[in-house]
């Protein structure tokens, strides 16, 4: 029985919910059980938006996850709020373009991805969520690279120029995380 839980968190408008949903779709695509839960409650404009995705080989019990294995954070308040909750041995993907601190945890794999810089270089800052999702999958392999690429094609295939950009940045995020992990292992 294997289960992975990950929280995506950032500002409203950074594509947090979409990134989580794509991961959930990818899980379904691989025949797994999934749950996607949004932050739901009285929230302020400009406040923190987050969602949690559970991907499992078997029936999922509690959909409420207070201590996830994975965390993908897009802004500093989210890192401060969620990083202490990540399970030891877990993974934190940090958008280092906007976050100038780290989690200060030595029991998790922390990968710093300059996601906004990569997105701007690729031509559209809105692709920041796709870079972070790519990096998360690269670091954890919760779903396979091929599944992720296929899902992006399926869900974002309507606008061809945007699709190509999305595919490129997902790939970039994936490989950025892979080489960052390799560098960590060597160090």
């Amino acid at each position: 029985m294997s289960q992975y839980e990950v929280t995506f968190a950032g500002f409203g408008g950074q594509g947090i919910m979409t990134a989580g949903q794509l991961l959930a779709y990818a899980g379904i695509h691989e025949g797994k059980q999934v749950v996607w839960i949004p932050s739901y409650g009285p929230e302020m404009r400009g406040g923190t938006a987050y969602c949690t995705v559970v991907v499992s080989d078997s029936r999922i019990g509690s959909p409420i996850i207070n201590t996830p294995l994975g965390l993908v954070v897009f802004n500093r308040p989210s890192l401060e709020k969620f990083a202490p909750r990540v399970k030891p041995g877990g993974t934190i993907i940090v958008n280092s373009s906007l976050i100038d601190i780290t989690s200060n945890r030595n029991d998790v794999a922390e990968i710093l991805v300059p996601a906004n810089d990569i997105a701007i270089k690729a031509g559209n800052v809105k692709t920041v969520n796709m870079i972070m999702l790519g990096a998360f999958v690269g670091a954890t392999e919760v779903v396979s690279y091929n599944t992720l690429i296929e899902l992006v094609k399926e869900k974002m295939g309507k606008k061809k120029d945007l699709l190509e950009m999305n595919l490129q940045v997902v790939d970039e995020g994936y490989h950025f995380a892979k080489s960052a992990l390799r560098a960590k292992v060597k160090a």
């Binding site: 949903q21 959930a24 779709y25 379904i28 059980q33 999934v34 749950v35 996607w36 839960i37 949004p38 739901y40 409650g41 009285p42 999922i60 019990g61 509690s62 959909p63 409420i64 207070n66």
Partner: protein
């Protein structure tokens, strides 16, 4: 059939359409507004009726009128909205009208909050309105089950000519899970709706009402509807057993999302050698009373624990079912706070250690 990812609220809306429920009357309220949002788009595509009423009081009476025509009608709301419909629900039970009511529960009392709760158990199962009546109450624990029970709800409403309530805590409406819809909705044959008001051409006029000023006529009506409640008790009790075995030291009774949280705790404790079983009522009325009694009576069971997102409501029915043969304990959080697995676990271990004898 393919598995698609859907939010609970949207899945419930689609399920209703698949079951032929295409006449929808409602007033928006968090955390179920996506039901109406989805139906506003979908119902015109399938030739249905969508009416956003001026209030939930109006919704209740629109349901009464529309249900009288024999069409499949439904509404969705959340706790304070369902309170406003109680008068009409009582009338519909008295007039023997089939209707499906979805309640995606939020914290109360009063306007309360918008986060998940299970504090409408009393209102749902004991009759939130006046008079001698019962509702069939179904409580899903996943998005797929919300789909299945919504569809079943339309069938049962017609079968018994009685309102059916599907209740889910806010999580059921807000979370996304994979769901499958049957290609075709197959249901057992139902009796002809010879009571439906369809324009009295070639037959005597019919009257749909709950007013019986002659006490003998009113008593007779109550005897007739009571007989249906007895049939429901015989035929419609639904529940699920999870890891129930002779080794169990404790029986947990819990429903909806709360039951899934308990499952996680049970799995964790099993790995540590503590054996606990779960009985999850799916029909809250009729209540699986005998089944709880049987499981609780097993020799290894030391205590029975009821876990709810309330201050303790279903626990009264569990207590009644167990008949004092084992101690019945309660754990719950309220106000929109969902108990974490860690809290439930801690309570279980304390109870089994005897540190928290009631």
């Amino acid at each position: 059939m393919t598995r698609i990812l859907m939010k609970g609220n949207e899945a419930i809306a689609e399920a209703a359409i698949r079951a032929g429920g295409v006449h929808y009357f409602a007033y928006p309220i968090t955390p179920q507004s996506e039901v109406g949002e989805y139906l506003a788009k979908r119902l015109p595509e399938v030739g249905g009726v969508f009416v956003q009423a001026e209030s939930e009081v109006a919704v209740g009476n629109m349901l009464f009128g529309a249900a009288s025509t024999g069409k499949r009608v439904f509404t969705s709301s959340s706790s304070p909205g369902v309170s406003l419909m109680q008068e009409a629900i009582s009338y519909m039970a008295g007039a023997q009208l089939p209707v499906v009511i979805i309640n995606i529960m939020r914290g109360g009392p009063g306007l309360g909050g918008i986060l998940p709760a299970q504090s409408d158990y009393f209102q749902s199962t004991k009759g939130g309105g006046h008079g001698d009546y019962r509702l069939l109450v179904l409580a899903p624990a996943s998005v797929q089950e919300a789909v299945d029970l919504t569809m079943l709800g339309f069938h049962l409403a017609d079968k018994y000519r009685n309102p059916v309530l599907v209740i889910g805590d806010g999580m059921i409406g807000q979370m996304m899970e994979p769901v499958e819809f049957p290609d075709k909705y197959d249901e057992p044959a139902l009796p002809a709706k010879d009571w439906a008001i369809t324009g009295a051409k070639g037959r005597k006029p019919l009257i749909t009402k709950s007013l019986f000023l002659d006490p003998y006529a009113l008593e007779q009506n109550n005897i007739v509807i009571h007989a249906k409640y007895e049939q429901m008790k015989a035929n419609e009790i639904r529940f699920e057993l999870y890891k129930v075995s002779a080794k169990n030291r404790m029986l947990i009774v819990s429903y909806g999302t709360m039951a899934r949280i308990c499952q996680t705790v049970i799995d964790d404790l099993e790995r540590e050698g503590v054996s606990i079983g779960l009985l999850r009522p799916i029909s809250l009325w009729p209540f699986p009373e005998m089944q709880i009694r049987t499981e609780a009576a097993k020799p290894n069971i030391e205590r029975v624990l009821t876990v709810e997102m309330s201050m303790g409501q279903m626990v009264e029915d569990v207590d009644k079912a167990v008949q004092g043969k084992k101690p019945v304990d309660f754990f719950g959080r309220t106000g929109g706070i969902v108990p974490a697995p860690e809290e439930v676990r801690e309570r279980i271990l304390k109870l089994l250690d005897g540190k928290m004898a009631k």
